[in-house]
């Protein structure tokens, strides 16, 4: 990953001078970066930094106000349909149809991506096998655990054989076993299919272990980018967490005010009636 001004043939994602505003608030402020094919790229930042807005723009859910986004060489704004065939997404919140079975969810996805009927059964069987969820295929999604739902979402995102996958906090709320299993799957996919992975997460230990490159966004601007070791040394930290905290501030302004003023807040509270 590198900050870039021009698209290169080896770039899977190219973001150039992108701006997104909500009313007067600039959520994403003139960001530029690129991700090479086959990389695991971690997009980090504190809550409200602009990560989700960026992902929404990359996945065609929101148009950028300014700038150009290209995925696999195609302009996201102008070739949205073609771009959508290239990527899979696992959103932060579960987007499975809770009232349908695992198999029906996968079948619907095939329908959305116009996968020929003759191929569907085979592809569904493959991803079910890959994520070890074949025995759950007839279960209504609502009845699955959080970890299983995540695996189904990952399986679904790969059904149309994308070259890029977006993972928005994929391990949020999962127990350590499920997290490990998920990363093992992703690692396997990266190795076997040269899949490009764009992920956001707050688990920085996972990023250190699995990501090739990192970008840190804060208040809509990218404040550091490069390999994991580059970002750590740039921020003069021991770990990525040190670097992240040093780059984005130990605590958000609001939290700092709260902790700094805790005594005063307690002092200011009305005394209880005796």
């Amino acid at each position: 990953m590198k900050e870039t001004a021009a698209f290169q043939a080896s770039d899977m994602i190219s973001v150039q001078n992108v701006v997104k505003e909500y009313g007067k608030k600039r959520a994403v402020n003139d960001i530029s970066f690129s991700v090479k094919a086959g990389e695991v790229f971690a997009f980090l930042g504190p809550n409200g930094a602009g990560k989700t807005t960026t992902i929404k723009m990359l996945t065609t859910l929101l148009p950028p106000d300014k700038g150009v986004i290209k995925i696999d060489g195609m302009d996201v704004a102008r070739q949205a349909y073609e771009v959508r065939r290239r990527f899979g997404v696992v959103f932060q919140d579960c987007t499975l149809d809770q009232t349908a079975t695992v198999y029906e969810n996968l079948w619907m996805h095939c329908s959305f991506y116009q996968i020929p009927r003759s191929e569907r059964k085979r592809r569904i069987a493959e991803v079910l096998e890959l994520f070890n969820i074949t025995s759950h295929q007839r279960v209504i999604v609502e009845k699955l655990s959080g970890g299983l739902k995540r695996r189904v979402e990952l399986a679904r995102a790969l059904l149309h054989q994308p070259v890029l996958i977006f993972l928005d906090e994929p391990t949020l709320g999962l127990d350590p076993q499920s997290r490990r299993l998920l990363w093992d799957h992703l690692h396997f996919l990266k190795k076997t299919q040269n899949l490009t992975v764009f992920l956001t997460t707050h688990y920085l230990d996972e990023v250190e272990r699995f990501a090739d490159t990192v970008a840190v966004i804060n208040q809509g601007k990218i404040i550091a980018a490069g390999s994991v070791s580059d970002v750590i040394s740039h921020a003069k930290g021991q770990t990525l967490e040190d670097a992240f905290l040093s780059l984005t501030g130990q605590l958000s302004e609001r939290e700092s005010v709260f902790f700094a003023g805790k005594t005063e807040i307690e002092d200011a509270l009305p005394e209880a009636d005796n």
């Binding site: 065609t60 859910l61 987007t95 009232t99 959305f112 991506y113 116009q114």
Partner: protein, 249 residues
């Protein structure tokens, strides 16, 4: 077509998998039948108008379709708030097909409910159904079901809050029901009531069903069909436009 079928099936399967929903959706039509039917039947007979239940059943079928379809807009709002809509929006799929699949699913569910109510009314002897009229009545039912499915989709696309959805939809649907000729005949009504009823597409559907099921048509049935086709086309365009502007929350 495959996508439309898939989303149609999703709506129907969700309905069939929730028996509670089937029974609760049947409760309101039977409440109308019992409360209004028993309450107004003697007055209706005294006025020399005949069997009030026979008059009321098409109105109750119309109410069943109206409330089932319009309230199904809440499913869309729910999908927007709880994720599934994102899956459809990042897919290289036509928004129009997604909308039509949903709307046809909602239409089918409402028609199943209406048929169940109709069968129960028929078995209970509340309404003698002429065999030839059933298909015509069903045709009118289909037209109003599609129309109000689109209206539900519009509401589900533009409203933002599931909490207030019910209140707002009640505010829209309840006057539509009472000003549709569902519960009282239009003959002898004041001009204001007749005018408002004539502006309501549900009136033409209920009147068409009533005429086909052995009652009297108030409006020319061909004109009713024409009006319902026109409002369906307008509603389809409006729903397509509203749904094209949906963004995930």
């Amino acid at each position: 077509m495959d996508l439309i079928y898939c989303l149609w099936r999703r709506q129907v399967m969700a309905y069939l998998r929730a028996p509670g929903r089937v029974f609760s959706a049947l409760a309101q039509p039977f409440l109308f039948l019992v409360a209004l039917g028993l309450g107004f039947s003697p007055i209706y007979q005294q006025a020399g108008r005949g069997d009030y239940f026979a008059f009321l059943v098409p109105g109750v079928l119309g109410s069943c379709i109206l409330f089932n379809t319009v309230f199904a807009g809440n499913d869309l709002l729910w999908d927007r708030q709880f994720g599934f809509i994102k899956e459809t929006m990042v897919a290289p799929a036509s928004r129009t097909c997604i909308l039509f699949g949903r709307a046809l699913g909602v239409t089918t569910v409402a028609l199943i409910q209406a048929v169940l109510v109709g069968v129960v009314c028929s078995v209970a002897g509340l309404h003698k159904v002429p065999a030839g009229g059933v298909l015509i009545a069903f045709g009118f039912a289909v037209l109003i079901a599609i129309f109000f499915s689109f209206i539900g989709s519009i509401l589900g696309s533009i409203l933002k809050d599931t909490q207030s959805f019910g209140q707002i939809v009640n505010f829209v649907a309840t006057p539509l029901f009472y000003l549709s000729g569902a519960v009282f005949p239009l003959e002898g009504q004041k001009l204001l009531v007749v005018t408002l009823t004539s502006l309501n597409p549900l009136s033409y559907g209920i009147d068409g069903m009533r005429g086909a099921l052995g009652g009297q048509y108030y409006y020319d049935p061909l004109m009713s069909v024409f009006i319902l086709i026109v409002v369906n086309i307008v509603a389809a365009f409006a729903a397509t436009f509203a749904f094209s502007r949906v963004r995930p929350d």
